[in-house]
Amino acid sequence: MHDFTPVSALAGGALIGLASVWLLAANGRIAGVSGILHGLFSPPFGEWRAWFISGLLLAGLAWQAAGAPVPLRQDFSLVWAAAAGLLVGFGTRMSGGCTSGHGVCGLGRLSARSLVAVCVFMASGMVSVYVTRHLLGVTS
């Protein structure tokens, strides 16, 4: 086991869970980031989506302003970044959710559909890392 950080993982995960419960309690919405993002580009435009996404961005700015470490890669090919983004955008719209919508929220609702999605994208992600990192050397 490498770089295992159980305390920050549990604390961060708890914040993610709390934010999801908060959004459902206050706004009646599921905190599925891929759906919220893509909803910005398809009518009817829900203003709350833009505010949630702005909150995500503000968190990144605040994290940096607080002087916390922002890990950046310099060696990741932009062509691969574009290809990966396309796959993530297309795939999450096809399956109706990502790590947050199917993962954090769907599992919390005991949705069988989400459980299948999570198992498939975890397995596919592991195969993808094996192929792109160990066979093709895309990421170090």
Binding site: G17, A19, A26, N27, L72, G96, R109, R113, G125
Partner: protein
């Protein structure tokens, strides 16, 4: 207006959780998916903590007839485990394993203005639009 501020707050707490947990660090995400290499199990705990909270929190929240600031709960209605769910999740996982970004972390990482996250998010939006225009009639 109040609802929008709450959506912003949820996004902010969600994003902070992504940074605290290490999800916003693509290298850490790839370490989690790299089961044949230097496996880092931390992100399993992120998901476990988040789901533990939604599992209980959603149940409590949904006992109420409506959310605090809106008239109705907007919950996903789909129940079927179909081909788009499985194929879409597989495609998402491939992209996730290439870049180490899923939608939430990619968006909050934009705050660091790293070129790779800008390219990734632009491509992710394009991928979602591509899905809408290619498979429009059945998009939910």
């Amino acid at each position: 207006m109040k609802a929008l501020v709450f959506a912003l707050g949820s996004g902010f707490v969600f994003g902070t959780g992504l940074w605290v947990s290490g999800m916003a660090n693509p290298k850490k995400v790839l370490g989690f998916l790299d089961i044949t290499g230097k496996w880092d199990a931390s992100l399993l705990l992120v998901m476990a903590a988040a789901v533990a909270i939604t599992l209980v929190g959603f149940r409590v929240v949904l006992r109420n007839p409506k959310p605090v600031l809106e008239e109705t709960f907007e919950l996903p209605q789909k129940k079927d485990i179909d081909l788009p769910l499985i194929a879409g999740s597989a495609v998402f996982g491939i992209g996730w394993g290439i870049a180490g970004y899923c939608p939430g972390p990619a968006i909050t990482a934009l705050a660091a203005l790293s070129t790779e996250s800008i390219v990734f998010v632009a491509a992710m939006i394009a991928g979602g639009l591509l899905h809408r225009f290619a498979l429009a009639p059945r998009d939910g």
